[in-house]
Amino acid sequence: MNHTAESVAGQVPGAAEAAVDALPGGLEAGIEAVLMVIDEPIAAGHLAQVLEVSEERVTAALERLRAQYDGGDTPRGFELRELAGGWRIFSRREFAPFVSRFVIDGQTARLTQAALETLAVIAYRQPVSRGRIAAIRGVNVDSVVRTLLTRGLIHEAPDDGESGATLYQTTSYFLERLGLGSVSELPRLSPHLPGVGDIDEYDVDSPWQ
């Protein structure tokens, strides 16, 4: 997130060794120490700032850690994943049956088909108004949108000051729940849709098209 100018110094060969390098375990252990206390994904840039090394070094170290955790015959019980614009430790999926007993999750209530379809429209057309969602789905979506708001999967987009309509977009929590780094990782809509965007004046050149 915060790209400090000082951090770039670390990548210069022969540059003074950062304080973290002098500690047992070095940069990788330093990264792990911070990963232990975060409660949302942390960007490599933020880690670089905290640890006073370059973002490039942090990213490389994160990749090494990820490979170590996943390593070969004896992977660790946790994994390091990059999603929603940052890095975070997760329990390894195979152990979900054991871990799930310790996790209380209000999200386990499944989304209805209507909620899923509405979420899909918002994800691909964001920012988008309720009226447009309703036009695509052919039904009123007011209560479904409210459900998605309550669950933190979408939020109101910052007012563009032009149209009066409230626009909705997905949250970083949505990305976390889907394990995505950004909305650009959503799969393309069916390629069977040439020109459909024209019909209702949708933006064909939208990045999500």
């Binding site: 329990s91 039904v139 209702d200």
Partner: protein, 304 residues
């Protein structure tokens, strides 16, 4: 892409009933007209791009009838959406049934445009439905991976900047009330009270007016509506006055524009009867209850 047929099976809404020589639709949970249309197309195993929509039109209309019969089960605007699509489908079907007319007239063009628009919207909906399936799969898959969120250890927590806490007890109570309030349930009934607003009979109001005028001979309009219980009654009395004027039992007088309107009884014959009024303002004779209501309920009963 997920086969529409599979989606149809998964939702299991369409039930073909050969013995009845027709089909039945279990009324639960099409999330919209596009959803239903896709299912019908899948059932006919038709390519969505083929011009064979007429074949599903009957079923769509039948579904609509059941929908209408199930009183208040759908929001009004939702039903309206179904109607819009049904009318488009009917147009398409009619065009197919009529003997080949001139191709290039405006109506045909409009029809083709309507058809293309409908197809385009259907295709679009289908794509989003597919995307929704992908999202559901990812959500399910990711639900097995739990993030570490152990929180700050005590010695780090002590470093946190002093909490800025300006919430008042009243604001907190408001938050609690909002959080604890029952979630707004989906309306189970479409309110039609505003459409009927209780029955106010013009003829009945005319009777009241006649009695008043017989007694006082001449009254202002304001006096005549002084005891009206609602706007609707005021309107009914005004309509009644117009009727009575046409019947030549009363006369109007107004000294200046926007001045008070005075109504005078003309005593045409002593026993003028408001029953003589025409019935054009009366509600249509009560129709027997929709038969489809009962049949829809019966079907629900079979498919709980």
């Amino acid at each position: 892409m997920t086969a529409p047929a599979a989606e149809n099976t998964a939702t299991g809404r369409i039930v073909t009933d050969d013995s009845a020589g027709g089909f039945r639709v279990s009324l639960e949970n099409f999330s919209g007209p596009f959803d239903l249309l896709l299912s019908l197309i899948a059932k006919r195993e038709m390519d969505i791009t083929q011009v064979a929509m007429a074949e599903v039109t009957d079923e769509f209309i039948a579904y609509l009838k059941l929908l209408r019969g199930r009183a208040g089960s759908k929001a009004l605007d939702e039903t309206t959406e179904f109607l819009v699509i049904a009318s488009t489908l009917l147009d398409l079907k009619a065009a197919r049934l009529l003997p080949g007319s001139d191709i290039e007239n405006d109506e045909d063009m409009a029809l083709l445009e309507a058809r293309d628009l409908l197809f385009a919207r259907l295709l679009q909906y289908k794509a989003f439905k597919h995307a929704a399936g992908w999202i559901a799969g990812k959500l399910h898959e990711e639900a097995t991976s739990f993030p570490r969120q152990a929180g700050l250890e005590a010695h780090f927590a002590a470093l946190l900047p002093e909490l800025v806490f300006k919430t008042t007890p009243e604001a907190l109570a408001q938050l609690a009330a909002t959080a604890l309030a029952p979630k707004a349930a989906a309306p189970t009934e479409v309110g039609t009270g505003h459409l009927h607003g209780g029955t106010v009979s013009v003829r009945e109001q005319a009777g009241i007016l006649a009695a008043l005028l017989k007694e006082h001979r001449s009254l202002s309009f304001a006096a005549l509506i002084a005891d009206a219980a609602s706007h609707l009654e005021v309107v009914a009395r005004f309509l009644a006055l117009l009727e009575m004027y046409r019947e030549q039992v009363i006369a109007f007088s107004q000294d200046a524009p926007l001045d008070a309107l005075n109504v005078r009884w003309l005593e045409p014959d002593a026993d003028w009867d408001p029953a003589a009024l025409e019935e054009e303002y009366e509600p249509a004779a009560a129709e027997p209850p929709e038969t489809s209501t009962t049949s829809a309920q019966a079907i629900q009963g079979e498919n709980p």
